[in-house]
Amino acid sequence: MSPEGLATLVPVPIITHFVTAVICIILWGRTSAQRWLSVVGTIVALMTSSVLLIGHASGDVITPVYVGGWAAPFGITLVVDLFSAIMLVLNGLVGLACVIYGFGNIDNRREQFGYHVLVQAMLGACAQAFVAGDLFNMYVAFEVMLISSFVLLTLGGTRGQLEGAIKYVALNLVSSTIFLIAVGLLYGMIGTLNIADMGERLTAAENPRAVSVIAVLFVVAYGIKAGTFPLFFWLPASYHTPPSAVSALFSGLLTKVGAYAMIRVFSAVFVADRAFTGEIMIWMAGATMLVGALAAAVQGEMRRALSFQLVSSIGYIVMGLGVALVAWDKADDPTLSGEASAALRAAGTLSIAGAVVYIAHHMIVKTNLFFFAGLVRRIFGHGEIARLGGLYKSHPMLALGFLLSALSLAGLPIFSGFWAKLALVRAGLEAGGYWIVGVALLTGIVTLYTMGRLWCEVFWKDAPEDASDRTKLSKVSAGAEPPPRTDGRWGAALMGGPAIAMTALTIYIGLAPAGLFGVAEKAGAQLADRSQYVSAVLPEAYLAELRADIVRVIAAREAENAGEIDGGSALADVPTDREVNE
């Protein structure tokens, strides 16, 4: 497909979702029309995203779109590279599955009060975050996504939902504020918001220490959104309270938007002092993995256990990024031989590719596990593990499906999780991050234990006699209302269908990982080589002038440094950048 054709398609997923949301508002109260519209809109978005992915994977191009014709860095820029395209497709895929699942899971009252509008607005905002080419646009996308998710979370207004929402709302607003502060400070320092432009200008930043502080602000802001240790507490407090379709959508999408933003910003903007942020991320990742998996082992509610497991998985993604940053930073060391440096660089690229594969695997599997939890809730009316059981006998297919997804999450071979972890572990070993690899493997074992325990408790053991008696539930799950059982056989089919499709997908990726891996490796290479992104987004004349300016600034500063013998140490670690000289 021609570059112009691809550029025309870039805004389509965003626009489709938002237009669908608006038409759904116009059709307020007519739920069956909204249902059809919602499915059609999501399918259109998924198909355009797929075309974008195919176009970018075959051509290895990066497509910028200048909104309103204002060239970067002045206007709003949308950029699709391979990583964005992958995320867009996953957005559409998870969105479509959840929309269909919701038909069997969401009750009429919620549908009448704008469920479809909110889902579409959230999907549109996520798509916008994935293609945003400047940080402020990304901030706005985050806010739109947050406000839709706030309302989705509280829609229905049960006690559990409201209590969960308070924690979710409070901590996410703190995160947004930190994000805004970081963007503001960065703008004050370099006077631009465009991601490509920022990366270039930061190579000549006057005060690298201040840049590192801002980088840490970004780690905290995105860390809260992504749900990393010690910032994840809003997640398990809220994700098990809304209907399962909403839980599944949140678990598949929201935290991954945070992870996406983290990878984007730290691969394209903060190019100096990468080892510093990389080390922080690796520590965060290790703690996230282990704490999430261990906490999941002691939970008494099915979806709450899955929420902690979700936190644990985020650790792997952050680990991929952290290892890559440290490896790239080490590779820049001039004392290294050319071969060693190239090997480190390759390890970093593999690590980021592994993170991309992990995101894809995780979005599919985790959404699916929440689908199964919803099906269990449909049968028993609650999700309290102690009062569940016997499903292996009564619903063998359900038990099998959950088991397959659970094993995939634990990273057993022939499932998608195995390949994702293999890439991350191999990259970690090649880059010399031995202890984090150890933690990752240990977490795999703990995950196997927690998921095995969940399966044995929910599906294998005999059901207690009063399993469906809601009056005997503890306070934890008493706040959650029972799922609707009105739609009968059709409802079960609408919920089971997406679950079967997602299970098939994780097995397919497990058996034929080459396709996903090929695309992810290309995406990793694009992320590793920032100059591709920069020269695709910024107009040539502007870029040449900017680079000349940067060289001049650095030269002037070095001259000044040479003049001052003892006062110049603070400026000594300004990166004498190899990209500038290229």
């Binding site: 929402a165 709302v169 703190v174 504020t177 805004l180 963007v183 703008y187 918001l193 407090a237 309290e384």
Partner: protein, 149 residues
């Protein structure tokens, strides 16, 4: 001026954080609002405010932060004009935070109706593992009176 603004921002962040750490959910909203204002002021300060740059003798060598208005008959902003982007950012942020604060106020009201308290310590139903969940709801209520007393 920058110094004054920096102090104001610091006070806003400090009081905002203090309010965030209170147990009352209403105070939490006030805290978020204060921090939001602090963030907006921070953006405008970080991006550069109206300042006069003086040399050693005290003479003004440069003025930054004039109103960003294009003089008649010209096509571009004159020297020393303020950057119009930070106000645009802040305007967007204010509109967003307005919507979000409205939402949270409704959320507080609904939660108060449902739970009967705005004390965050009492809203633990979604945060307990089964082992430390009280068996009967009456225990939670006795617990709440103790806290209140």
């Amino acid at each position: 001026m920058s110094f004054l603004l920096a102090c104001t921002i610091g006070i806003l962040f400090a009081t905002g954080t203090y309010m965030l750490l209170r147990r009352s959910f209403v105070k939490l909203i006030i805290g978020l609002g204060l921090i939001g204002h602090g963030a907006n002021l921070l953006i405008i300060t970080a991006a550069g405010i109206n300042t006069e740059i003086v040399d050693e003798t005290g003479a003004i060598v440069e003025i930054r932060g004039r109103p960003p208005l294009i003089a008649e008959g010209e096509d571009v902003l004159g020297a020393g004009a303020a950057d119009p982007i930070p106000p645009a950012l802040i305007l967007t942020a204010i509109v967003i935070s307005f919507a979000i604060v409205s939402y949270t106020i409704v959320l507080v009201k609904r939660t108060y109706q449902e739970v009967g308290t705005d004390d965050l310590n009492q809203m633990t139903a979604t945060d307990l593992t089964l082992t430390d969940a009280p068996e009967e709801p009456s225990q939670a209520e006795t617990g709440s009176t103790e806290v209140a007393a």
